[in-house]
Symmetry: C2
DNA sequence: TTTATTTATTAAACTAGTTTAATGTTTTGA
DNA sequence: TCAAAACATTAAACTAGTTTAATAAATAAA
């Protein structure tokens, strides 16, 4: 059950078999059917999750009712609201399954236990947070400098497997444009070819 | 010389006087005159810095020659290109002093020494990276959902002391708009009052 | 299988933000 | 202290992206 998780940890740091086992034993599996929520706005996020099956979206709803997608998570990705989780304040985010999904969950308490007792875990999460931060910095620069059209093209090139599983509405909410405009972009690209 | 730095560390984690002293001794002071660079595109970023005086901007130049500002750093802020620093690949960023500045620098080697020998330092940087990541997530959502006008207003409210030290050109590059449009926004706001 | 719901597309009017260029103001530096 | 450079503002034409609404196509539900 935790095979994918072990593989994922090994990608970031080298951890002894023993420590890996101990750490993984702190997770429990949760099944999340399509359209249900792992987290809702207003709740305090008390977990960190590792997706082993399915697809989630992590999004915000602004005061005008529009949704902005912070990121998607498929197999092998981690999900949490790091803001709510670390500060223990109510979340501004929703985490929703877009497909029937399976996720390995570790509670805040158990994660703190791991930090205190498995010295390498601190490094694991430092390294992972750094990597996601770098990715977000790049996305920030892209959003500041590139047109919606090139952001869309780059998104489809970078995550082809993800694009097939997403509606254009979801992709538009990630790119920060309307689905109507995304439709125009897609038409323009199709004509070019 | 490292008083500000010690104070900053204490804000994030509790570290013994001895460990604090050891860690701070790894930094050396650098003076960066206005308009000179701490890092240029193409260089590998081999340091992490803590600003004790002055003002920096961390920015990217896109292929059309436009500048996007990732963040500013004044006294008490950390600066590095975390991407280049961790992956040891050439940077896509410039770090430039906008005022005569002073910065405490720790080299990659010494930082690794600290990770290996001062167990709490791993936590320090995990916590700091988490906090900057949360801030960037919030900015990402704002950029996806808010108009330039409200982003400008919120920026001036959040960083009033910074706004006074920045030209409108710099603020516009941070907000992701042209300085001409920022001028329009400022006029509109002034008329309202 | 039929109906209801969600999704994608198109069009047309609109608005937020850009571009270019000109003008006055402030800052910098020799 | 004077000239040059950088900065802020304004105007006017333009373009990227939105809004609303209608229609067709695909999916889900009963």
């Amino acid at each position: 059950m935790t095979a994918l998780l072990k593989q994922n940890i090994a990608k970031h740091i080298s951890l002894s078999a023993n420590e890996t086992e101990q750490f993984c034993s702190l997770f429990e599996q949760k099944l999340i059917p399509k359209k249900s929520f792992l987290l809702r706005e207003g709740e305090i996020c008390k977990f960190e999750g590792f997706v082993t099956k399915g697809l989630f979206r992590v999004y915000h709803i602004d005061k005008n009712g529009f949704e902005q997608i912070l990121y998607f998570a498929i197999e092998n990705w981690w999900i949490t609201d790091i803001d709510s989780f670390t500060t223990e304040t109510p979340s501004h985010l929703f985490i929703e399954a877009l497909e029937d999904s399976e996720v390995l969950i570790i509670s805040k308490k158990d994660k703190e236990f791991a930090y205190a007792n498995l010295p390498q875990i601190e490094k694991l999460f430092r390294v992972m947070t750094q990597k996601t931060h770098v990715a977000l910095q790049r996305r920030m620069i892209d959003n500041l400098s590139k047109t919606a059209e090139s952001r869309y093209i780059e998104f489809t090139e970078k995550y082809p497997q993800l694009v097939q599983r997403l509606s254009n509405i979801q992709i538009a909410a990630y790119l920060g444009i309307t689905n109507v405009f995304l439709s125009n972009i897609r038409k323009k690209i199709a004509v070019k070819k």
